[in-house]
Symmetry: C2
Subunit: 445 residues, 2 copies
Amino acid sequence: LRADLGKVVGAEHVLAGDTREYLHDSTDTRGVHGRADAVVLPGTAEEAAAVLAWCYERGVPITPRGGGTGYAGGAVPLGGVVLSLERLTRVRSFDPLLWRIEVEAGVRTGEVRRLARESGLFFPPDPGGSEQSQIGGNIATNAGGPHAFKYGVTGKWVTGLEAAIAPGELVRTGGPLRKDAAGYDLKALLVGSEGTLGIVTAAWLRLLPAPEAVHPAVGFYPDARAGCDAVLRVVGSGLEAAALEYLDAGTLAAAGPSYPGRIPAGAGFAVIAEADGSQDEAARLRDELLSVLGEGALGTGTPSPAELWRWRDGLVFAVIAKRGGKLGEDIAVPLDRLAEAIEESVALGRRHGFETVSWGHAGDGNLHTNFLVDPTDPEELARAERAGEELFELALRLGGTVSGEHGLGLLKRGHAGWTPRVAALQQAIKDAFDPKGLLNPGKKL
Amino acid sequence: LRADLGKVVGAEHVLAGDTREYLHDSTDTRGVHGRADAVVLPGTAEEAAAVLAWCYERGVPITPRGGGTGYAGGAVPLGGVVLSLERLTRVRSFDPLLWRIEVEAGVRTGEVRRLARESGLFFPPDPGGSEQSQIGGNIATNAGGPHAFKYGVTGKWVTGLEAAIAPGELVRTGGPLRKDAAGYDLKALLVGSEGTLGIVTAAWLRLLPAPEAVHPAVGFYPDARAGCDAVLRVVGSGLEAAALEYLDAGTLAAAGPSYPGRIPAGAGFAVIAEADGSQDEAARLRDELLSVLGEGALGTGTPSPAELWRWRDGLVFAVIAKRGGKLGEDIAVPLDRLAEAIEESVALGRRHGFETVSWGHAGDGNLHTNFLVDPTDPEELARAERAGEELFELALRLGGTVSGEHGLGLLKRGHAGWTPRVAALQQAIKDAFDPKGLLNPGKKL
């Protein structure tokens, strides 16, 4: 196997199957690890397609891999070949005056954002871990992030894709086009398909002129109920925040000490809103947001955006530090059920004996409720899994989804709550793209 | 057939198959008419699913129909049953404070926009004919319009769908949720599927706070080349216009007399840009747009938005009036190929002996190039069809698509330029949803 694949990509680009860093993703904090027979690092899209062809002919499972920052186990291999896109790092074209860029799958998300910014543009999606995560993986999971509230998730910024499709061919759908109403939307199918329909090798992305100014505003509240009331007031006032985030009491307790500002005594919930636009506009909107957030608040603040988002990005590490691991989900509910979802999800974790913390994308109704665990304790992990299944039930009961932005991966399949007809359609789509079931098997469906 | 279907929807809601207004859409201006065995008007989504079930069991083709404003013949029946959604007009829920609405498929697009506006909100998609077109049809074609430049096409505003799916069941995908990363995106597949995968019966739509002010700016140029330079300058300056439209010389000649303002002598091309936002912001952006549009212009103008868009919406009628009919397409190309595409498409029509006019959504690279025809002259229509096929070739040669916003319908299928593998995937998706091929047969694929 390794010798054969070495002929496709060069022997030095085939690693042993037990190369540890390719056997897990961010779910190692809940003890999830996989196994593989080989790790293959193609250098071009054509090589990626050739690896797929080789595997497809021989019935070898293939697990595509981006930066490995996923929280659903989507990149955890269950045997066969891991295909890492890390060497596909070319920026194929960049037309700042036309607001578009074509990048290969292995380009880091942070690099796309940096390139855009250097030309006065802006790539809005900002999932966490942008220095590690790759654009191909972001597309394969339709990654979200704080600014999805105003700007939408990754898929909204993809105008074209190149992907290796079974039995081993590169196909292109869309391109440097802003509109396309021809066929069924293959691009939208590949987005969020978690490597189970094809392997994204490159993408055309749409960019926007960068906002002149970005001004966050933060409100602190005694509890989730008061904080969620503030979230609903912001939305109900028709203020178009760029981001609208929350942190609950447990999250504030874990990450509060490094917050770039003062947290009022008694704060059990925080709401972060952000204004962006021209200098004048962003300042005016920030003041309006502050005034709405201020009602019923214990205090408000206006940290610098750079400090605030660095802190916000890092809070997952502060949370993990408490017990060494966490089991977290990303359920999403209609906005009017947000307070209920936060309160019930935290109560649920505590009922199972876990210290439980919750933060997330309030404006999108997207919760990250996390049970803190010791990742080396099998009993605790098994108990947390059961609690996690109750989180899924909660999401469906509130009219929501088991995944707002991480995908189903390995860990959530079977929990999506589909009717038999919807499940059959999902399977039929899988079969259309991957009749042998070799693309990231054991994931999503 | 009519008696049986009468038992499903009530005899008074089954019309004769030769009821003329159900046998064509806006392509009657190019002489396209269909035939049907019956026209059925279900009163609920459940009745729509029951009609589908009845047809599916008996192998009867079924053509779903919205407002009939399509330009690709997608609603033209080729026999069997026409299922019109016109009686599904309920607004199922409207939560202005949460920026969302759930409407049935037969609600007019203009009604959705009006309801939103009455609550200080905004439903951005604005395809033409909003008082006739229905939201279900807009979704089935993923309709665009001038403001898609800033706000995107219809599908971007759909968060959930209810659809009747073969063999005759209502399914729901998404809902009042802003994010969902669970299954393959069935919603995105149904959007733009032109009634060939299922029949949209209701939709959850996302709304936005309405901009305080809307200020258009118009520039007039001697020719397409100078006008397209202005379009590229607007984009390259990083000015985020809400709409960025063009009209060529022939369009100005036909519709110019009713333009709400003065058109400078010698104008052979016009560019409409629009600024929106807060009062201050929209005024500032309009001034910046005017300044960029002014370079190399014969003149500029700032008509009132209401008058301008009423005129813009009506220009298709001014064009049709010239010879009684038109054959038009909606190819889209990368923005840097816009000038080439406009010039070559007009030259192509003239080469075939047609008076040819072109207008469209410049910022999205989306052209409406139209050949003026006498719709009662079969020779002329056949010649125009051949010229239309050359338009498709032009679009593909320039790296574009044969349809930016109208869909493939009856008239463009076979011209999308797919590779065999992409065509096979398209067909496999169709087979997954509609194994008997009874949903709008002869369309799209």
